[in-house]
Every structure is written in structure tokens, then in C-alpha cells.
């Protein structure tokens, strides 16, 4: 523990523990009544259960914070999962959410991030938090999300009758581990700390005073705070294990008490030690022989909200650049004349900008030429390495079928793509190739019109290898005339990185000229 944290801990320690006001004795009200839903009591917990003590400790911490730190308890939200501990939320007169098994932490994540003003506390059992919800625990800790997680650990699944769980000590007994637990339990403080929690502690319910103090600190803590409370399960766990075995099965209160005595015997306070050393030791018959207790970690680190908020300025810049592009956009006259359904297949290899070329055509047609345009791309294994393909359909009328049925126009920039797609081109269709990348075989189709330019070379000569696709776009625009030249230019200018706009437009122009020349011939 840092010196600062030690000092804070000491300050809290010497503050007086709240005693009930005189008036409460007179009215007969329990001092905690205002934070309990009286109409829901009595609670469902067994006699001798440790949950009552855990609840009392939590409430007194809140009352202390209300009185001494000005906490507005209307802004406190408690979230529980399922299980005996999960019922705590329902007894508290606070905003309280009883969620599904294991999912209290993600629910709390939503509450807290959506409204950082709320003080959000998760109270649930070990099965809920470390078993079914274990993944959520480690990730909330990793984010240093500003919530408090109080995990009441009774070493088993109590509500369902005492099954073995992720915290059941090795060799201890449970309904589903009657020959002794052959698994090993989590050390919860170590798990939380290793995952990124910035405040970590453990107490048994016997150490109620210490627990109160620790809870106050955990609740004030700005990052992710984790408190494990070890508590007797008089009905289930104590029945099977040395701590409560051999006692009258009817006398649950006695059993709970025996477990508390046991805690007194085996509890060992070791403030500030590394959470790794915060053992729950057992002997060979599964009897707990040492429980290390205390506050193990108290660090100040930026919490999740701060981390998110730091990004706001960058986000605004992103938005402004997108908005400026929209505002700058020129309005061009719509394309003259009707465009029948035109299907364009583009193909090449990864990195040639086959997708962006298709998108540029689509945008030119739809945004600048007021045509209908639909751009789709081939996903799946074939899109990784090998041939990359993208498709655009353009038409003056609505495009019902988004896929190509019979492409009329093709732009092929690799041998592989040529081989893959050329057979699909409809008779009389136009094939445009980068003629340095595609070698037409002797049996090349004669029923289609084929034109080639050295697009990659043109781009290289202009000083930007990556603009080969733009050369092909210029070429395509000239040969096909489906989309207006100016529409294509605007679409390119809007789509390529700002620094490369002029070079791309130059390359487009070269491709366009070559196209015109070829068509004239």
C-alpha cells in the first residue's frame, strides 16, 4: 500500500464508528430501516448465514458516506446477479437491479458509463462473480471501471443446495464433491489485482469493523475496487465441512456461530501484502486453516471514464473532416439519358485498390450522376490473398437484384482475376485489362471487346504505384461512358487520401486519354 493510502486508511480508522441515534431507540426503528425495504422482510436467508452481516456492513458504510462525505444515496445503484447474495439488491431501499446469473458486472458497466454520476456497486456471490460471471470480472477490472464489486464468498453454490464452485477449497466437501474437491479454487483478490483492479481487499464477516472501514474506502475509490467478504453458509457448506460438521442439523444459528469462531481462529490480518500471498489455506481434509485478510492494494490510476473522455478532441477532428468533405461537395447535373442495368466486375489482387475502385464508380454514379448504384464485394476466403473481386451495378431504375447476373463490363488487374472472371462476361461485353499484368492466352474470347493499358506503369511514372486503379478508372470512363467524367473526378477527389488527390487525378486523366484514343481507333 502507498504511504498516501496508508494515511487515508488511518484517518478513516480513527473516525468514530456510528452509533444509533437516541431517537431511533425511542421510535423502535432500526437504524438501518431507511435503507431497507421493510415490506420485503423477513429476508430469505437461513439462520446463521453470513449475508446479514455483509449487508449490515454495506449499509453502515453507505450511511457513513452519506453523513461524512455528503453522498446522495439517490445516486447509488446496486446491481446483483443470481444466488443467495444476489438477493441483497432486492432488500435495499436504493435503486437496485436484480439481473441474470453472472451478468451483474456488465449491467453495471452500462449504468456507470452511461451515467458516470451514479455510484454503482455490484454485490453478488462467488459463483455469480467468479464462476459464471468470471469473464466479466476480469474485464471490468482490466478497464479499471469506476465501480465497486463486493463478492460474498461462501465457498459453494448455496441457493441451489451446496454444490462445489470456483472458490471451494481443494479437498473440501460439497454436494457435488462428496469425495473431496479435486479442483483448485481461485484466489479472488489475486485474480482481481492481476486483472487490473486498483483496490483489492478481503475480510471475513467476523471482522465487521474492518470490513466497514474497507468498504468505505472501496466505495470512495475512483477506479475498480474489489472486496471479497468470506461468509458462512450455515445450511450448505458448513454441513459438509469440518468447520460445522457434527453439529445439530436443525440448529443453523449454532452452525453459523461455529464457523465464525473458526474464522477467529484462522483469520490472519496482513495489510498491504501482495495479493498473491493472500491465501486461503486448507489442510489435507479440506479444512480451512488460514485466511489472510486485509487491504492488499490501493492504487490511483485513471479510471475508465477518464480514459474515454480523453478521446473527445480527436473524435471531433474526425467528424469535422468528414463534414467538410460533405459540405465541399459539388452538385453536378444528373447523367443525361437512360442507363440500362450495367453490371461491372472488377478483379485483381489484394492491395491494388479493387474495392476502392468499385466504390469510386458507385459513388460517382449514385452521388454525382444521380443514378442507382449498388456496390458489393466478395468476402470469404477468396478475398484473402489470391483474387480480390468487387462488383457494381448501375442503372437508371431501381436495382432489385444486387448481384451480377451477367456482367457487361470488366476491369481486370491480375492474371488470376482474369482467369477467374473472364468467362462470366456477357458476349459483346467490354474487358479492360492492365496489359502488363494480364497475358491474354491464345484461346482468349473473341466475342468480347478487349482493351489494355499499362495502368501500373502509368501510375509508377506519375510517382504513385498505388494509383494504378485510378488509371484503370480513367480508361474505363472513356471506353464505357456510363458515368460522366466529372462525376468520376469528383468521386476520386472525395475518396483518395487528400495528399494524393492531384496525382490520382493526373493518373486518371492519362488513363482517360488512352481510352479515348483506343476507342477512336
Amino acid at each position: 500500500m502507498s504511504a498516501e493510502a496508508m494515511e487515508r486508511s488511518e484517518r478513516l480508522r480513527i473516525m468514530n464508528y456510528d452509533t444509533p441515534a437516541e431517537s431511533d431507540w425511542e421510535t423502535g426503528l432500526h437504524p438501518m430501516d431507511d435503507l431497507l425495504r421493510g415490506e420485503r422482510l423477513p429476508h430469505i436467508w437461513c439462520q446463521g448465514c453470513g449475508l446479514g452481516t455483509a449487508l449490515t456492513s454495506f449499509i453502515s458504510s453507505l450511511k457513513w458516506l452519506e453523513k461524512n462525505q455528503g453522498w446522495d444515496l439517490d445516486k447509488v445503484a446496486v446491481v446483483s446477479g443470481i444466488g443467495c447474495t444476489g438477493r441483497i439488491a432486492g432488500y435495499l431501499r436504493l435503486d437496485s437491479f436484480h439481473t441474470t446469473h453472472g451478468r451483474a458486472i456488465p449491467f453495471a458497466t452500462g449504468l456507470k458509463i452511461a451515467n458516470p454520476e451514479l455510484k454503482v456497486i455490484v454485490i453478488s456471490g462467488d459463483g455469480d462473480i467468479a464462476g459464471i460471471g468470471g469473464n466479466h470480472l476480469i474485464h471490468a477490472a482490466r478497464r479499471n471501471l469506476g465501480i465497486t464489486v463486493i463478492c460474498v464468498n461462501n465457498f459453494n453454490y448455496g441457493m441451489t443446495g451446496g454444490q462445489v464452485g470456483p472458490t471451494t477449497p481443494h479437498e473440501a466437501r460439497a454436494v457435488t464433491a462428496q469425495y473431496g474437491n479435486y479442483e483448485f479454487p481461485f484466489n479472488l483478490p489475486y485474480l482481481a489485482a492481476a486483472s487490473g483492479a486498483s483496490f483489492v481487499a478481503r475480510w471475513t464477516v467476523l471482522h465487521a469493523r474492518q470490513l466497514d472501514w474497507t468498504l468505505r474506502k472501496a466505495l470512495i475509490h475512483s477506479g475498480f475496487s474489489f472486496v471479497e467478504i468470506i461468509a458462512p453458509c450455515s445450511t450448505a457448506y458448513a454441513r459438509w465441512n469440518p468447520e460445522g460438521k457434527g453439529l445439530d442439523p436443525e440448529n443453523l444459528r449454532r452452525r453459523g456461530l461455529e464457523v465464525m469462531k473458526h474464522y477467529q481462529k484462522v483469520g490472519k490480518t496482513e495489510q498491504g501484502i501482495h495479493p498473491k500471498d493472500a491465501h486461503v489455506k486448507v489442510n489435507s481434509s479440506g479444512e480451512v486453516i488460514e485466511i489472510v485478510e486485509g487491504e492488499f492494494l490501493d492504487e490511483t490510476r485513471p479510471d475508465f471514464k477518464e480514459a474515454i473522455d480523453q478521446r473527445a478532441t480527436t473524435a471531433e477532428k474526425f467528424w469535422l473532416s468528414e463534414k467538410n468533405a460533405l459540405d465541399k461537395r459539388k452538385k453536378l447535373p444528373p447523367k443525361k439519358g437512360k442507363v440500362p442495368r450495367t453490371e461491372i466486375q472488377l478483379g485483381g489482387f489484394g492491395g491494388q485498390g479493387i474495392m476502392s475502385a468499385a466504390k469510386i464508380i458507385g459513388m460517382a454514379a449514385s452521388i454525382y450522376n444521380n443514378l442507382e448504384a449498388c456496390f458489393t464485394q466478395s468476402y470469404g476466403p477468396e478475398a484473402r490473398g489470391g483474387a480480390a473481386g468487387s462488383q457494381v451495378v448501375i442503372s437508371s431504375t431501381p436495382i432489385h437484384h444486387p448481384h451480377l447476373t451477367q456482367p457487361t463490363s470488366m476491369i481486370m488487374m491480375s492474371q488470376g482475376a482474369y482467369e477467374k472472371y473472364v468467362a462470366d462476361l456477357s458476349p459483346g461485353g467490354v474487358l479492360l485489362i492492365d496489359d502488363e499484368l494480364v497475358d491474354l492466352p491464345a484461346e482468349h474470347r473473341e466475342d468480347i471487346k478487349t482493351f489494355g493499358i499499362p495502368a501500373t506503369k502509368i501510375a509508377q511514372d506519375a510517382g504513385n504505384n498505388r494509383a494504378a486503379n485510378t488509371a484503370m478508372l480513367g480508361f474505363w470512363t472513356a471506353v464505357e461512358g456510363i458515368v460522366d467524367k466529372e462525376a468520376m473526378q469528383e468521386s476520386i477527389a472525395e475518396s483518395v487520401p487528400p495528399k494524393t488527390v492531384s496525382i490520382n487525378l493526373d493518373v486518371f486523366e492519362s488513363g482517360y486519354k488512352r481510352g479515348l484514343d483506343l476507342v477512336k481507333k
Binding site: 437491479f97 452511461a114 456496390f375
Partner: protein
């Protein structure tokens, strides 16, 4: 300036998934929790860029269980929230979709459907989760599910999904698919002033005596379609909500009467408002011999075969389920007495086809055009089925 912040009003050549995110932003969504999954990932990507621009929050959760729960938590903090996923993630969300329904929590869940079952076809289209959308979470409930056929409609229906979820205080599903999600077309983002945005009925601090406050009120005038106002966390009402069967106060009530009260209100707020919730697009239903009933991408790709069939002289009607759930039972039952046959194209082995059959109740024949995931339907198959249906009709 502040009103302008984050606006992208105008025409875009936009990916379907991104259009979904833009619809959400315009609808007022300010919290997104999600987990990457093809083909829904681009919704999360776009939200992660856009939300911080409008003072919203994006969180990438550890899994889909957490994503679904986080959006419920955010909604109870008073913030409109959404998540997006596909098949496997949709399955993981089912548990807490149920929690959302039980707690009466407005939020939107988008499923960009891919081919299943299991990991199935991550990058390729399917409409195989339509019945899961209806029945996927355990227990009895009603659900609202919308099905768009283009990026523009994905944008529009995401807004409508938010409006319905706010109005009826319930999670709403947008059941789109890989084809629409991964398609790029023109999307017009109108100025926010031109869009109707609904917000949940809500009670704020001081509106009601906390002692008289009921989190799940019944209608004061016996309206079964009544939706109780919501109270967010932090308003001083010290609310309690639970996934357990509960009473008006939100307190657990463990008996059959309570379950009946609880389940009825979840169902009736939908079933008593069908006219408002169900949205259909129809064309030439009058005098139709054959009616094509479809939704989403399959409805769109049926338009060409319908045109062809009409050219061949077959009287084909068209009924597109913009709202798939709740199902337009009355419309289909009435139509069944007037038309000869229904043709139901969908990219699955016959899910909505069964609903049409159930509602047609033997009064009209039902022909499905089915294939499992991987590709949109072949227009030729749809055309052939329309011809077949017409032949049967004419014989009768």
C-alpha cells in the same frame, strides 16, 4: 454549433452496416456495447468512431452476454442504447434479451444474419434466425422485429426500431442480413428536424410521491396496451427491478397469478398495438391470384421475378413484411380467403413460410422458395415457383 455537433446530413454512398450506425445516432442512441463478429462488425466500428463525436459512449465488451447486459444497464441510466451481432452472438444474447423484455427495457439489437447453424458461413448471407428472433429466449413474450432490404432502409428502420422500443419499453430487433449489411448504396441522412424521434414515457424526480410510485403501473383506464412510464436510476425513487416474476412494485412475486399478470402485460402491450407496430408494403393485392410474401433482401430480389410473372399475365400481388414480428396474422388470414396461393421466398429452409401456412389455415396453398444460407435467392427459382403457384390456382 452544439446542435450541429456530429451531424452528417446529406447524401452518402454508404455501407449498410454504417447506415445502421447512422440511423442509431440520429435516433438518439448514445451508448453502444458490442463484440466483433462478421458481418456486423462494421456497425461497431462506425459506432466507435461516431459516438464520441456526439458525446456518446462506445464500449467493446468481452462477449455478447456482456454486450446485451451493458445496453440494458445503459438504458436504465436513461440513455438510448444498442448492440449489433450475428448468429453465434445472437444466440449468446438470448438470455439477456429475455431480461430486457422482463424488465421492460427499451434498447435495440441488430442481427446482421449470416448462414448458420453454429459458425456456419460468417461472411455470407442467411435469413435463418427469423424463428430464433421470435422464440429464442425462454418463456412467453412478444417481440418486435423489423427487416430492411437496403442500406437506406436499414438506416430508416434502425430509427423506427428505436422509436418502437422507446414507445413500448421493450427491446426491438432489427433483423437484417450480410447482404444488406455489406452492400453499399446511396443513403440520405436527413436533417434531424425532419425525423420523428420518440422518447420513452418517463417519470422524473418530484413528478410522483415516491410512496405512490409503481415501476410497473397498470393502465389507469384499463387499456391493455398501456405502457408504464419508466424511471431511470438516480431519480430518487429507489426503484427495484428483477428478472424474477414481479408485481407492480417490481418486487419478486412467486406464484402463478403473478406470472400471469406479468406475462400478460409483456404480451398485451404489443398485441394491443398491432396497428401501430405492424408495417407492411403491399402492391397489387387486389384480384391477385398469387401473393408473394417476403421480407428483407429476399423481398427485394423477388421484385424482378414478380415483374416477369406479371409480364407473363400472372396476377401477382406483393406483400413485404417490414415488421416481421409481430406477424400480420389478420392480413394473411383474410388474404388467404381471397387468393389462390402464397409464395414465400426466404433464405432458410422455411421459417416464415410456416407462419404463412398457419395463418392461411388451408384456405390458400403456400409455396416456399427455400434454400439455406450462402447466397441470395435465384430470381429464376422465385419465378418458377410463382408460375407453379399460378398453375395450381388456375386449376382450382
Amino acid at each position: 454549433m452544439s446542435k450541429e455537433k456530429g451531424r452528417l446530413t446529406g447524401e452518402h454512398f454508404m455501407l449498410g452496416d454504417h447506415a445502421c450506425a447512422e440511423g442509431a445516432i440520429l435516433a438518439g442512441c448514445r451508448f453502444f456495447a458490442g463484440y466483433p463478429i462478421t458481418p456486423a462488425t462494421e456497425i461497431a466500428e462506425r459506432m466507435s468512431v461516431r459516438l464520441p463525436q456526439v458525446d456518446g459512449k462506445y464500449v467493446q465488451m468481452e462477449d455478447e452476454l456482456a454486450s446485451m447486459n451493458a445496453i440494458l444497464g445503459a438504458s436504465w441510466a436513461g440513455v438510448k442504447s444498442m448492440t449489433a451481432t450475428s448468429g453465434p452472438g445472437f444466440s449468446l444474447m438470448m438470455e439477456n434479451l429475455g431480461l430486457g423484455i422482463m424488465l421492460e427495457t427499451p434498447c435495440v439489437l441488430v442481427n446482421v444474419q449470416r448462414g448458420g447453424p453454429s459458425t456456419g458461413l460468417p461472411t455470407l448471407v442467411g435469413q435463418q434466425d427469423m424463428m430464433q428472433a421470435k422464440w429464442g429466449s425462454h418463456g412467453d413474450y412478444e417481440i418486435i422485429a423489423l427487416s430492411p432490404g437496403s442500406p437506406q432502409e436499414l438506416f430508416d428502420l434502425t430509427i423506427r426500431a428505436f422509436n418502437l422500443s422507446e414507445k413500448y419499453r421493450t427491446p426491438v430487433l432489427v433483423m437484417t442480413d450480410a447482404e444488406v449489411g455489406h452492400m453499399t448504396e446511396k443513403v440520405v441522412i436527413p436533417p434531424p428536424e425532419e425525423i420523428e424521434i420518440l422518447n420513452r414515457p418517463q417519470i422524473y424526480k418530484g413528478d410522483v410521491e415516491p410512496d405512490h410510485f409503481r415501476i410497473y403501473r397498470e393502465s389507469p383506464d384499463g387499456d391493455p396496451g398501456y405502457v408504464s412510464p419508466m424511471v431511470k436510476a438516480g431519480e430518487g425513487y429507489r426503484i427495484h427491478v428483477t428478472g424474477l416474476t414481479h408485481d407492480e412494485r417490481g418486487y419478486p412475486a412467486m406464484n402463478a397469478e403473478a406470472n400471469e399478470w406479468n406475462v400478460s402485460r409483456l404480451m398485451e402491450k404489443i398485441t394491443a398495438n398491432l396497428d401501430d407496430i405492424i408495417e407492411l408494403e403491399t402492391d397489387k393485392l387486389r384480384n391477385a391470384e398469387v401473393v408473394v410474401v417476403s421480407y428483407g433482401i429476399s423481398a427485394r430480389t423477388s421484385l424482378w421475378p414478380i415483374e416477369q410473372a406479371r409480364k407473363e399475365g400472372i396476377k401477382v400481388g406483393y406483400l413485404r413484411l417490414i415488421t416481421v414480428w409481430p406477424f400480420p396474422e389478420d392480413t394473411i388470414s383474410k388474404l388467404a380467403t381471397k387468393v389462390g396461393a402464397f409464395v414465400v421466398p426466404e433464405i432458410n429452409m422455411g421459417q416464415i413460410t410456416r407462419e404463412v401456412e398457419r395463418c392461411a389455415a388451408g384456405n390458400a396453398q403456400v409455396f416456399g422458395v427455400h434454400k439455406p444460407g450462402g447466397d441470395i435467392l435465384d430470381p429464376g427459382d422465385v419465378l418458377d415457383t410463382i408460375r407453379k403457384a399460378a398453375a395450381v390456382t388456375q386449376k382450382n
